[in-house]
């Protein structure tokens, strides 16, 4: 069975999702999903170990060999992405039961688990596949289930009912535009190369072709330029790169807490993975960064995004929305790292995928605990909560420190790489802006700390007690991981560096 590991990783959650719909019974469905999620995580660990041990793994679906059939191809980067996606998936699902009991209608619980597993399948599938069209299909699986998951937030009493539906619909429209752009791009690339296998496509894009009696490289043709434009805009929309982030704040604010924690930690990160694949595996860094000015574009947009989104976060009164804007800023850091196109920059970007997934996952789980007890995520309702829910708020504060990038937390590691990459290029204004944005993060984290610890709690919260241990333990696993990976970096930064070396094709 060892040989089938790559496909088992995908089909275990894929088969479990329809089983959830057939079984329907709440406890059984939860048990099944939980087992499947942890099994998936275990398989992702085994795959990463094998990839680090012996290099790339491939798997031919249906026994059809590579450029013709669909191929799963796992290198360090994809194994690393799958590791944290499945890990977060398992931890967040462990956290889920109490939270969804409050935030999702009871007759929709089995649908929640089915959609959650489908979303996990899609996200893992994007990372594992070596076929561009297959990637699009998985992208759609994850996005469609994400829309449905967000719309589950429409329950009376907890939040305004209609808003979750509108947010989900807005996300659906924007996400579909992005997906269409990606599909058009893939179609044009297929037209020019006649292949959908990414490795094969990369080779053929560098071959020569005769157009109007002139010999030129395939990637010099206008069609490939247009394809690249469609693909990069579509992917930027999916990863919520400023200024294409408009769908994100509402979606994260009105979705159920569990869904927000899962999507915030994984969905946009996997889209960044797609961008990395497009730039470095398919068209090549020299095409994107030297022939076309994608690096300048990414840098300008991400710097504006970091400053604008962090500033907007300061003025939010809803903490979930504040964290959502902070997510837009963090995507900016990741895009900034890619735009350096250097080993340090790319390592910073990849390690920040991992670190930010842990930090944001942890923070949104802590928000889930707060919403469970308070029924609200408004800053006003958080007054004095530091004394009523000390454990939850302590976790929140540690996560907040990670967002700022305080030493000893994981956030520091990413920022260290980004700043050293900027200084290596001699771009000290960029380094200064990164430091400045950390100060902005300090401001919005402090607003919550001030409300929670230095203000008196309102009368109606006299009865509020600490969240149950079943929720606190998963929260602390993620928050503990942010501190752990701030101290021990050989897994996160070490593997990220190896992935970056493979992408840049430099030998260590």
């Amino acid at each position: 069975m060892e040989h089938h590991l790559p496909v088992l990783l995908i089909i275990t959650p894929l088969v479990a999702a329809p089983l959830c719909v057939l079984v329907r019974q709440r406890l059984a469905v939860f048990g099944l999903s939980l087992t499947v999620c942890w099994a998936t995580f275990a398989m992702a660990i085994m795959l990463l170990v094998r990839v680090l041990d012996s290099g790339e793994i491939t798997y031919q679906l249906g026994g059809w060999s590579a450029p013709w059939g669909i191929e799963y191809r796992i290198d360090t980067l994809s194994a690393f992405v799958m590791l944290f996606v499945s890990g977060i998936g398992a931890i967040v699902l462990t956290f889920a039961p109490h939270s969804i009991a409050r935030e999702i209608r009871e007759d929709q619980h089995y649908l929640f688990f089915a959609e959650y597993l489908l979303c996990l399948t899609g996200l893992l599938g994007i990372a594992i596949t070596g076929d561009l069209f297959n990637l699009f299909v998985f992208l759609e699986i994850s996005s469609l289930s994400a829309y449905a998951l967000i719309s589950l937030g429409a329950r009376e009493g907890v939040q305004q009912t209609r808003r979750a539906l509108i947010a989900a619909f807005h996300y659906l429209v924007m996400g579909t535009i992005g997906a269409t752009f990606i599909l058009i791009g893939i179609g044009l690339l297929y037209m020019m190369t006649g292949t959908l296998n990414m490795a094969d496509m990369a080779e053929r894009l560098r071959a020569e072709v005769q157009i109007n009696r002139k010999l030129m490289d395939v990637n010099e043709t206008r069609t490939v330029l247009v394809a690249f434009a469609f693909l990069s805009v579509g992917i930027s929309l999916k990863m919520a790169l400023f200024p294409l982030h408009m769908w994100l704040p509402n979606a994260y604010t009105y979705a159920p807490s569990v869904v927000t924690a899962f999507l915030a930690a994984t969905a946009t990160k996997v889209s960044v993975y797609v961008l990395l694949r497009l730039i470095f595996t398919i068209v090549g860094a020299s095409f994107a960064f030297e022939k076309l000015p994608l690096d300048t574009e990414l840098m300008v947009l991400s710097l504006i995004g970091i400053v604008v989104a962090s500033t907007t976060a300061i003025f939010q009164t809803n903490i979930k929305r504040m964290l959502a804007y902070s997510s837009v800023a963090q995507i900016g850091y990741i895009a900034l790292g890619i735009s350096f196109a250097s080993l340090d920059g790319l390592t910073g970007a990849i390690v920040h995928l991992f670190n930010h997934a842990l930090i944001k996952g942890g923070l949104f789980l802590a928000m889930g605990c707060l919403v469970l007890r308070l029924g609200s995520a408004e800053l006003d309702d958080l007054r004095g909560i530091g004394r009523r829910m000390p454990w939850t708020m302590f976790a929140w504060v540690v996560g907040g420190l990670g967002l700022i990038g305080v030493p000893v937390t994981a956030g520091f590691i990413s920022k260290w790489y980004l700043i050293s990459a900027a200084l290596e290029r001699g771009w000290w204004p960029v380094a200064l802006l990164v430091l400045l944005s950390s100060l902005l993060a300090l401001v919005y984290v402090w607003r919550v700390v001030e409300a929670a610890y230095f203000q008196d709690s309102p009368e109606q919260h006299a009865e509020v007690t600490e969240a149950p241990a079943a929720m606190l333990i998963p929260t602390y696993v993620l928050i503990g991981a942010t501190v752990f990976f701030g101290l021990w970096t050989s897994l996160s930064a070490g593997v990220a560096q190896q992935a970056a070396q493979l992408l840049l094709e430099v030998t260590p």
Binding site: L14, G62, G63
Partner: protein, 150 residues
Amino acid sequence: MKQHSILRVVAKLLIPFILLFALYVQFHGDYGPGGGFQAGVIFAAGIVLYGLVFGLQAARNVAPPIVMERLIALGVLIYAGTGVAAMFCGGNFLDYSALEYSFLQGSLLERHLPHGQHLGILLVELGVGITVAAVMILIFFSFAGRERSR
């Protein structure tokens, strides 16, 4: 629609043929044009026509939403299950060639059942057909059953 006798009679005449044609497209898909997706849509069109002419409740009695929801899941399971069965027969996931003469060996049925790639594609398309038909019917129900401005 009670007074439109022509519509009712024609619909009654047409529906069996629509459903039969859906099955033809389904099971003939591996020889000619067609397949699970098209067959599923045609089959659903039969039920939708029934719902339009005889009322939503009648269609719901024929195809209860709760059953449809489970059929959606069942179709996906048939598809994935075929792939897993191929794995158990020694091939890769969805490698239909591994299904060659793996089932019912020595029985009388063996000579009449399709094998290998043929069997694989037939089962997979069956899964697709079931899911697509159920999804189309459920989409029709949820749009037609929507109450105006709650």
